[in-house]
Subunit: 210 residues, 2 copies
């Protein structure tokens, strides 16, 4: 997990933190537009409104910046879902809720959604974002017998991939209003829940995304 950054101590450090975040924000916008990283460091610096030399005070390579940008977006997304689902104890209901909210996210948080769609899969098995949160819930659900799964990482691959597949479908064609519920139901059945319970959990009232 990312450690919370302590508040910068002085003006120099504040300015330094500001330019780092400006670069990350610019990289997030660029990623969300095309999924492509073919842009030059000069162009990134211009979008971030920082000097060209400033880039190398923070990142060794363009790849390092884009990795940090994806991690930043996924961490924001993970914290958002954590907050919305914090009152839910059942890991099955946490999954159902998170899947349905992720689809709603494409309307309220298009930048994060695009980054998940383009880059999420390569970050599922890293230590920030949704991956480690989902893995923790899969392990809890396996230990309690709520989920019937063998290797939680295989299940995580399936869930992460399926969710990104749904975001992709949402991009290329008109999907029905119940697509998030259908996906939640499919994934709960996959995790071993009986069909009627999967259907029930996938259609409960949804908490609001803040």
């Amino acid at each position: 997990m990312q450690q919370p950054t302590p508040p910068p101590a002085n003006r120099f450090e504040r300015r330094r933190a500001h330019s780092r975040q400006a670069l990350i924000s610019a990289a997030r916008r660029i990623l969300a537009e095309t999924g492509d990283t073919a842009v030059s460091i000069q162009q990134i610096s211009e979008r971030a409104d920082v000097g060209f030399g400033t880039f190398y005070n923070h990142f060794d390579t363009k790849t390092a910046l884009f990795d940090a940008a994806v991690a930043d977006a996924l961490e924001e997304y993970g914290q958002l879902l954590d907050k919305v689902t914090e009152g839910i104890d059942d890991p099955a209901e946490v999954f159902a809720t998170s899947v349905r909210l992720t689809l709603q996210l494409s309307a309220t948080h298009p930048e994060i959604t695009q980054i998940i769609r383009f880059r999420g899969l390569s970050h599922v098995h890293t230590d920030t974002g949704l991956g480690p949160r989902a893995l923790r819930d899969l392990e809890i659900g396996k230990a309690s017998g709520r989920f019937t799964i063998d290797d939680p990482k295989v299940a995580l691959s399936a869930i992460g991939g399926a969710l990104i597949g749904l975001l992709q479908l949402n991009t290329v064609s008109e999907i029905g209003p119940g697509a998030g519920e259908q996906m939640a139901e499919l994934l709960l059945r996959m995790l071993g829940l009986p069909a009627d319970e999967a259907s029930d959990l996938a259609t409960r009232p949804l908490p609001l995304l803040s």
Copy 2:
């Protein structure tokens, strides 16, 4: 589906078909190496061993070439799976077999595997490759009652994404020898098969990839 190309009629057409395929093969190799398309048309032409001007006889843009390259790789993959599974009538067993073979493919066909991993998701809902074949099987299975699904495209998104998620896991960490079987079992449960039947179908003797 792609139509089979008729054999070229004369030397000019043979040469033209040869240079087109050389460009596609070069693009496939480039995609498999990095997943990135930041390379120049000049560099692609050099890798394909064709003149720079030749590129524009076949493709309007670099994007058009890379799309054709992904479609070419996925079509080859789809035909490979069609051939191996042609004697299997049950769509559930076709899925289980295809999922398990896809994981084996990473050893025997690394280029196709990399292209699926990097680009497969954006091509799941196109009309070449594995997408339309899987959609056809989902529709057959839904109609016969073998699968309990609502919108076959939502199920296709889940299956395609899960499979690519597994290829991703296979890239970033050591996965156990039974990961393909686990994924097949998870996906069959997702499609509505009873747990014991899903487990049985996921562990039958596997046909050989040719």
